[in-house]
Chain length 332, copies 2
C-alpha cells in the first residue's frame, strides 16, 4: 500500500490494455454500477484557457466496492498543431479508495480514454442496435472513428463500412486503407451523409462538430445511431429532429447528456424535455439482452463519457501492471 | 516542453520550498490575481468515500499570464491511523497553460498545502491584524498550528505564544517545546479558550472542530482572528456571534467561505447574510497597507484554501526544481 507510486508509460499501457471483450466487460460493469446507484460521479471540473483555445477537464468516479478510483486529467489545446504538437493529451491517477493514497500515475497520453470511449460505443450497440447488419457507417475518419468501428466489430460483426468525412482526401484514404487491413472488411468513402445513412443499419458519429449535421430525413426504420462526438455545451452532431424520430433514446449519463451532449441541443430545439423517457445504458445492462423489441425501431444513444469508464479501465491497467511488475516505482 | 515529466519527491520539495517571505509573496500575488478577476477557480471536486470515513478533494486554478497551472489531489481518510498511516495525503500536478501537457508530478504528501495554508494566514494577519502585539494565541497544537505561528512571526513578530488544545498532554508539551526552539519565544499552554483570548491581540484557530467553540464573549477590542480550520460543510470553529462583534470581516474566497467555511455557520446562525460586507483578502492587497483603520477594531478572516494558492506554490517549486535539475524525468 505505502510501498510507492507506480509510474506507467503509454507504451506499457498499450501492451497491457487493448480494445477487446475484456475491456468492454469492465466498462459495462462500470455503467451497471452507475445505474445501480453504486457510483459517485462528481460534475466534470473544467479549466478553460481561452488565450490558447484550450481546456483542461478533470473527470473522476468512485465505484463502491472497488479498491481504487481514477482521476483523469484530459487536455484539449487546439493551437498545439501550429507548433507541431497534438491537441489532445491526458493522463490518469489511480488513488486508493481504502486510504486515499496515490497508487499510480498512468501516462497514457489519452490512449485509455480512446479505448474506454470505444468500449462504450460497443456497449451502446450491443444493447440497442439490430442484429444481422452487414453495412455500418461512421461519420469522421479520425482515431476514434477507427476505434469505434473496431469496437463495433466485436459485438455486432459486419461486412462493410461506409465512412463520410469533411477531412482531407489523404486522411480519408488512410482510414479506408487502415480499416480494410485491420478489420478485413470492405471500406468505402461516401459522397454525402444521406448516401451513407441510406446504406447502413448502424451509424456511429465521431466528429467534433459544433452544428447538427445529421438530418432527421436520413433516419429509416431499424436504424441505430451512436453519437459520441458531443461532450461540450457548444458541440452537436444530430439535429434535434433525429430524436423526434427515435423509438428509444439512450445515453450514458442523463444529467451530463442534457448539459454537454446531444440531449442539450435536442432539448433546445424542442424535441425532448427532461421528462422524455431516456434510458441510461447501465439501466439496460442486467435487465435485458437488448432494449430493442423489434427490428424496425429507431434507436439513438448519446455518449458524453463518464468517470466510471475511466475508473474501470485505469484499475484494469494498474492491476495488470502490478502483476507484470511493470513501470517505475517512485517512493512516496 | 515535450521533453518529459518531472517527478519530484517530498524530500526535494522540502529542500526547495520553505515557509518564508518569498512563498508569502507568491501566494499574495495569487490572491491579488484572484481578486482582480484574473483567475479561474472551478468549484472543488469532492469524492467522498463514506465506507472509510474518507474523502478525496481536487482543487485547481488557472491564473492568467502564468505558464502553468496546478491541480491538487488531497485526501483525508480518517481510519488510516488505525492501520498506522497518516490521515492526510496529497500531491499536485503541474500542467502547461500553453499546451495542456503534464509537466510535473509533485509528490509532496501534503507538504506544499501546509506551507501555502500558513502563507495565507500570514497574509491575513499582515493586512488585518494590529501592530505591536506581543502575545499571540493559537487553538490547536498540530502541524498547521505550528506553521501558522511560524508564518505569523514573519509578518507580525511577537514575544509569546499561548496555545489551547483538547489534544493529549504529550502532544501539547511537544508543541511547547518545538515552538520554543523554532521561534525562540515563550510558549505556554492555556487552561481554557477564554484565558487564551484574554491575553492575545492576534488569535489563529486551526482545529477540525465540527461545532463552534469560539465564544463571542471572548472577543475584545483590537482582536484579530484568523480561522483556518473549517473547509467543509460540517466544520465550524467560530460561533456566529463572533461575526456579530467584528468590525471587518474578510475571507479568502467569498463563495467558498459561505459554502464550506465559517461564513456558512455564521449565516445559518443569522449573524451574516450574502449582503454583509465581506472583503476578500486579494481586494486589500495592492489597495491598502492594512484594511484596519484603528487599533480598536475587531477583525476576523476566514480561510478555506483556494486553488490559486496551490497554483502559485506548485509553480514556484516546479521552477526551482527545473533550475536545480532535480527529480526524475520520465518520458511523455
Amino acid at each position: 500500500m505505502s510501498d510507492g507510486i507506480l509510474i506507467l508509460s503509454e507504451k506499457e499501457l498499450r501492451k497491457f490494455v487493448q480494445l477487446d471483450t475484456k475491456v468492454i466487460e469492465k466498462v459495462e460493469l462500470g455503467f451497471a454500477q452507475l445505474a445501480a446507484g453504486n457510483a459517485t460521479v462528481p460534475p466534470i471540473m473544467m479549466l478553460p484557457v481561452p488565450e490558447k483555445n484550450g481546456e483542461v477537464d478533470i473527470k473522476s468516479a468512485f465505484i463502491k466496492g472497488l479498491p481504487s478510483m481514477a482521476i483523469k486529467i484530459a487536455s484539449g489545446f487546439f493551437q498545439n498543431p501550429d507548433i507541431g504538437l497534438p491537441s489532445q493529451s491526458g493522463q490518469m491517477l489511480v488513488v486508493s479508495a481504502e486510504t486515499g493514497f496515490l497508487q499510480g500515475v498512468l501516462l497514457d497520453n489519452g490512449y485509455l480514454t480512446q479505448v474506454r470511449t470505444a468500449a462504450a460505443g460497443a456497449i451502446a450497440a450491443k444493447y440497442l442496435a439490430p442484429d444481422g447488419v452487414d453495412t455500418v457507417g461512421v461519420f469522421g475518419c479520425g482515431v476514434q472513428a477507427r476505434y469505434q468501428m473496431e469496437a463495433l466489430s466485436l459485438v455486432k460483426p459486419f461486412k462493410r463500412i461506409v465512412m463520410y468525412s469533411i477531412d482531407t482526401e489523404a486522411r480519408k484514404q488512410d482510414f479506408v486503407k487502415d480499416m480494410t487491413e485491420r478489420l478485413g472488411v470492405e471500406v468505402v468513402s461516401a459522397k454525402s451523409g444521406a448516401e451513407l445513412v441510406a446504406q447502413c443499419g448502424i451509424v456511429v458519429t465521431t466528429t467534433p462538430s459544433r452544428k447538427g449535421y445529421f438530418e432527421p430525413e436520413w433516419v429509416h426504420p431499424g436504424l441505430h445511431i451512436t453519437s459520441m462526438g458531443s461532450d461540450a455545451e457548444d458541440k452537436q452532431e444530430l439535429k434535434g429532429g433525429v430524436f423526434g424520430k427515435a423509438d428509444i433514446i439512450a445515453c450514458d449519463l442523463k444529467a451530463q447528456s442534457f448539459r454537454l451532449g446531444e440531449l442539450r441541443g435536442a432539448k433546445e430545439e424542442g424535441f425532448v424535455t427532461e421528462l422524455t423517457p431516456v434510458l441510461e445504458i447501465g439501466q439496460i445492462i442486467g435487465t435485458a439482452k437488448s432494449a430493442r423489441t423489434s427490428a424496425d425501431q429507431v434507436t439513438v444513444c448519446d455518449l458524453t463519457g463518464v468517470g466510471v469508464q475511466d475508473t474501470m479501465i485505469a484499475l484494469m491497467a494498474y492491476e495488470i501492471a502490478l502483476r507484470e511488475k511493470a513501470g517505475i516505482v517512485v517512493p512516496r
